[in-house]
């Protein structure tokens, strides 16, 4: 039983989805679900020990014959793609319905299928040229999905930023693949660790894929894109698209020889992303931006794992690298699951209230208990707390780092710092998500919009339930998922090919199971006890203040105040403060907004300079013919100079 037929079925369904999507929403949903299910089947086959599947076809595309390959590594990412893709398709049916968006919803369905198709193509194609084709197509279809609501200028702006940044990355990949092809003499991809000459190319890949993965400081496009996209698009962009960057990194750091120091660079980027990403997240007031920056953090965690693995591989395949990489790959799944869940939740909040500002929400749990509960679950998972999946993968990464430290190898120092950073990032993530859930769902509604909120329908809740189930099951039974991850690790580095779990995953799973049971039991017990003792509802005591108003609640800005203060050096918050004056102050105001520092403080000025140059140069085309002819003479002179310069051949 090979994955081939499943992949074919998936491709057919999704292609049909592109064709039928605009006209036939129901059929499209069916096709998408069927296609992703088939793809998931293929992925599972690849993960559950089917031998690496390869397929050549004589049919050339772009002058290169098709060469598809599905090994455990690509299957791992394919599984994630299919899970989120299917869930998103269902979710979109209600969230971005023809009724609400008659203009863009049909377009959106077609692009969604195109996105899934092209990402799947990237995952299975084993030819540089085809990889690039898929890569570009998925970038562009993501762009058109992101800008579904083109009427809003800020959406267009975010979309353009995304497109520009992605193209910058793509240019690096052009160079990378072209150099690879010109050095190996063919576009074919595959393991080539023995050709040591190729090592330097990995730097190009790091740059190109890093942009897509949203590694700090290459993440500039990410926050605005994820915040302004329709939420199901944010979910797949954050859950899957940026993982394609990770896929590229893992894939090629596994296939190519690794330059010395790459491990240090990767782990360094990871640490920076993890800490600064979550620091930015903590300071946000827009909950979708908060989720976006949190993705930067999680990519950082994954990069820490990958970097540790690279270091280990460089030091004679120390086994702790295997743990770290396994943790990183498992975190790819976990982040995909809970971040999509959170974005779906954010979507239904946005759907219900129409605002992305936490300071305009509050008390939504009464109106939308399902969303609140599921979002809370996602929050616990993303904060890396037991007994959910987030902790499982972070725990593996920790183990890798701790082993590296106890091994006292040359990598110990880096591992120490990484572990400490990981700890701080975890605590900050917890803070951020306590803030997010509390500001959105707890307390009293701060605006009428929050009062009028309503729960979303089943087609939006069902995908969230599915993803929540994934989070819970990876948390409670990590052993079940270990073999898949172990195979992927084995593909990355044959020396680490599958053996038993190096960590007591079974014990952890058992502990999680017991813990979960006890938590539920204790909660129920306390609840009943409270009921038995009898309770009454009363106004929040609030130190005796008689008439507490919603506006008096702790706001998201003040909640983040302390933590954001510590990172003010990088957050560069822009404050607009008007203190109350006089005995009876009429107006008092304290607005704080955290800019995207790298974009607005670094790239913005640089762009200004370039535009200045462009303006200066464009003055030369001032319409005076005489100077045009002078230019010709100048060109003549310059070329003659060039010829005479090195003319002695």
């Amino acid at each position: 039983m090979t994955p081939g037929p499943f992949l074919l079925l998936a491709a057919v369904c999704l292609t049909a989805g592109i064709a039928t999507g605009p006209r036939r929403p129901r059929l499209w949903t069916g096709l998408s679900v069927a296609g992703t299910a088939a793809g998931l089947g293929a992925a599972l086959l690849g993960l559950l020990g089917a031998p690496e599947w390869e397929w050549w076809s004589g049919f050339p595309v772009g002058g290169e014959e098709l060469h598809l390959r599905l090994d455990a590594l690509s299957a791992l990412f394919l599984a994630l793609l299919c899970a989120v893709g299917g869930a998103g398709a269902v979710y979109a049916g209600e969230y971005w319905s023809d009724h609400h968006y008659p203009a863009s919803a049909p377009r959106g369905r077609a692009w969604w299928s195109a996105l899934l198709l092209s990402m799947g193509w990237v995952l299975v194609s084993s030819n540089g040229l085809h990889f690039l084709i898929g890569w570009e197509l998925f970038t562009v279809s993501a762009y058109f999905l992101l800008t579904l609501d083109r009427t809003r200028p800020e959406v267009r702006k975010a979309g353009w930023l995304y497109l520009a940044a992605s193209h910058a990355g793509t240019v690096c990949l052009f160079a990378f693949f072209a150099a690879l092809a010109s050095r190996t003499g063919s576009w074919e991809l595959g393991p080539m660790r023995d050709q040591l000459g190729l090592a330097p190319l990995l730097w190009l890949a790091l740059l190109g894929f890093g942009v897509k993965a949203g590694v700090f400081p290459l993440h500039v496009w990410l926050p605005s894109a994820h915040a302004n996209a329709p939420s199901h698009v944010s979910a797949i962009m954050s859950g899957v698209c940026i993982k394609m960057g990770i896929y590229g990194l893992v894939r090629f750091s596994g296939w190519l020889p690794v330059p010395a120091g790459a491990g240090w660079v990767v782990i360094g980027f990871g640490a920076v992303s993890a800490l600064l990403g979550i620091a930015f997240a903590f300071a946000q007031n827009d909950y979708k931006r908060l989720l976006a920056y949190c993705s930067v953090e999680n990519v950082g965690i994954i990069m820490i794992g990958l970097g540790a693995a690279l270091l280990a591989a460089a030091q004679g395949d120390a086994p702790w690298g295997r743990l770290a990489l396994a943790g990183a790959l498992l975190h790819v799944w976990n982040h995909g699951a809970f971040k999509s869940l959170l974005f779906f939740g954010a979507g239904s909040v946005l759907h219900a209230t129409g605002t992305r500002e936490m300071s305009r929400l509050g008390g939504l749990w009464q109106a939308m208990p399902w969303t609140a509960g599921l979002f809370a679950l996602g929050a616990i998972a993303v904060s890396g707390l037991p007994p959910l999946n987030g902790f499982t993968s972070e725990w593996l990464v920790y183990l890798g780092l701790f082993d590296a430290v106890t091994g006292r190898g040359p990598a110990a120092g880096g591992a120490m710092l990484a572990a400490i950073v990981l700890g701080m990032a975890g605590a900050l993530a917890l803070a951020s998500f306590v803030k997010a859930t509390a500001m959105i769902f707890l307390g009293a509604p701060r605006t009428q919009a929050a009062v009028r909120a309503h729960e979303s329908g089943w087609t939006m809740r069902a995908p969230m339930l599915g993803l929540a189930a994934v989070c819970v099951s990876i948390g409670l039974a990590p052993v079940l998922f270990w073999p898949a991850v172990a195979r992927a690790v084995g593909v990355w580095h044959p020396a680490w090919s599958p053996t038993g779990a190096p960590a007591p995953l079974f014990t952890l799973g058992a502990v999680h199971l017991v813990l979960a049971a006890l938590l539920v039991a204790a909660a129920a017990w306390l609840w009943t006890k409270a009921q038995v003792n009898g309770w009454r509802r009363g106004l929040t005591w609030d130190c005796g203040y008689a008439a507490p108003a919603a506006r008096m609640q702790y706001s998201s800005g003040s909640f983040a105040g302390i933590g954001a203060g510590w990172f003010a050096w990088i957050l560069q918050p822009v404050r607009n403060l008007r203190r109350p004056r006089g005995l009876q102050p009429v107006v008092a105001l304290r607005l704080e907004y955290v800019p995207e520092t790298v974009l607005e403080r670094v790239i913005g000025p640089a762009a200004e300079v370039i535009l200045q140059v462009s303006t200066t140069v464009r003055r030369l085309q001032h319409g005076r013919l005489q100077s045009y002819i002078l230019y010709i003479v100048a060109g003549l002179a310059a070329l003659s100079g060039l010829v005479l310069l090195g003319g002695t051949s």
Partner: protein, 481 residues
């Protein structure tokens, strides 16, 4: 002698058009001649004729590698022309049609001429024939553009003639019998007098480079493309420039036969990169979407000359790019022409939301923009990627490739900025062409669509015969000793 037929058939068509009485039916001559011409060229492409060594005019491998693209482009533009001229009933099209056909004939002559002087004459003639096409719109802006085109282009022409003289004198000085066919010049090889060859190369590069639109001799381009009808722009960008490019290729072959290949490649590389840089900088700021196309064309001419500088593989890629860029640019020019007629202006400042009132053209325009900025699976992606690969294959060209890619990136920024700037948003009230609604009839939509399709097909499944033709051309330019 089919190669002569390729030249004289369109010229005859031109004469017929000049005599044709009826303004309404005259445009049909364009597709009629175009069909036959394209048929002939592709027949020749499929079974190439044997070339007599001394021939002055022949369908040699280089012509075979490029001319069909020009002919194909002309054919599609001709079908567009019918619909376009129907829209422009108010203007007499006698001169326009006749000269379009003449241009086709002269282009065929230029591509096929294997003689230094003949090549120059053909190029000169094309330049002159294109003049009235430029000011078809009859606006003062159009005349200004034409005047600049003539004087700048004329200077270029003059310099290329001087260059031809120098090359001729080099051969004379090297004991040549005054036979100025490229074959015999290459045969003379290192006998050619080196100083004269160097001078000739510089003059010819600048001269034909002016025609091609390489910076800093590109100044006529934005004006001409900005003011000419879309169909003329497409033909200039996809046809006339290619004659100049092939001319440079032929001369370069002679120069490298004279042992100065390295020098020639260096100059080509530098001028190519400079063109791309200038184009990128202009694209970052331009606010006129037709002039934007002109700068984009400058950029792609830069790509061509870089390709020509990168040895056999590079030339192969460049010939590929002649096809892919010509066809894709054609689609862009035609759809831009539609948008221009629908919106009544070519400036970003007064055009917005074309997706609302010209949806199909806008769609093609956006798609073409992505295609021309190397979005797979369209043709330019593959040709440009091959240029990059050829560059990385050569030692010590890393900086050039880096600069090449950087320019591509900035050009992308500029193009997307302008294109999305006009396509998106809410249309301005009352920005209409003479109040008359522009209908996106099949006649003006299908041709650009066809061109996009061709570009796609070229990329996804580059026909073996074309690849073979390009390889043959490379062999002609880089004869194995």
């Amino acid at each position: 002698m089919i190669s002569l037929l390729l030249i004289f058939l369109p010229l005859a068509g031109a004469a017929l058009a000049a005599l044709w009485p009826d303004n309404r039916t005259r445009p049909w001559l364009l597709p009629a001649v175009g069909t036959v011409h394209t048929g002939l060229t592709f027949w020749l492409l499929l079974n190439p004729p044997v070339v007599t060594p001394g021939a002055w005019l022949a369908f040699d491998p280089l012509a075979r590698a490029v001319l069909p693209a020009v002919s194909l482009l002309f054919f599609v533009c001709a079908t567009y022309g019918v619909a376009y001229l129907r829209v422009r009933q108010e203007r007499p099209n006698r001169v326009f049609v006749a000269l379009l056909l003449a241009v086709l004939g002269l282009l065929s002559a230029g591509h096929q001429s294997r003689h230094l002087g003949l090549l120059w004459i053909a190029t000169e003639a094309v330049t002159l024939a294109a003049v009235p096409l430029l000011h078809f719109n009859g606006t003062p802006r159009a005349f200004e553009a034409t005047w600049k085109y003539l004087l700048v282009g004329g200077t270029g022409i003059a310099l290329s003639l001087l260059g031809s003289f120098c090359l001729g004198y080099a051969s004379l000085h090297g004991g040549g019998g005054g036979d100025l066919t490229f074959a015999s010049l290459m045969a003379q090889g290192t006998c050619l007098s080196r100083p004269w060859v160097l001078i000739a190369w510089v003059l010819l590069l600048v001269g034909y480079g002016t025609k091609m639109g390489l910076a800093p001799m590109h100044t006529w381009k934005p004006d001409a493309y900005g003011e000419a009808p879309g169909i003329v722009g497409a033909l200039l960008a996809g046809g006339v420039t290619t004659v100049a490019f092939t001319a440079i290729l032929r001369v370069r072959a002679v120069v490298s036969a004279a042992g100065e290949g390295a020098m020639a490649d260096r100059t080509l590389l530098v001028i190519g990169l400079f063109s791309m840089l200038v184009a990128a900088l202009f694209l970052l700021g331009t606010r006129d979407y037709k002039r934007m196309l002109a700068y984009s064309s400058v950029e792609h001419m830069g790509i061509l000359s870089i390709g020509a500088a990168l040895g056999g593989a590079g030339v192969w890629a460049a010939l590929f790019h002649v096809w892919s860029n010509g066809l894709t640019k054609g689609a862009l020019f035609l759809s831009a022409g539609n948008i221009r007629r629908a919106a009544g202006s070519a400036s970003m400042d007064d055009v917005r939301g074309t997706a609302v009132f010209a949806p199909r053209s806008s769609m093609i325009f956006v798609a073409g923009m992505f295609a021309v900025t190397a979005l797979p699976p369209f043709g330019p992606f593959f040709s440009e990627l091959r240029v990059v690969r050829a560059g990385l294959a050569l030692p010590g060209h890393g900086w050039a490739v880096a600069m090449f890619l950087g320019c591509l990136l900035f050009a992308f920024f500029g193009l997307t900025r302008v294109v999305f700037g006009i396509v998106d948003g809410r249309p301005r009230p009352g920005a209409k062409a003479g109040g008359r609604r522009f209908v996106e009839s099949a006649g003006v939509i299908v041709p650009p669509l066809v061109l996009m399709g061709l570009s796609l097909w070229l990329g996804l499944h580059t026909p073996a015969v074309l690849q073979e033709a390009w390889s043959a051309a490379v062999v002609q330019l880089y004869p194995q000793p």
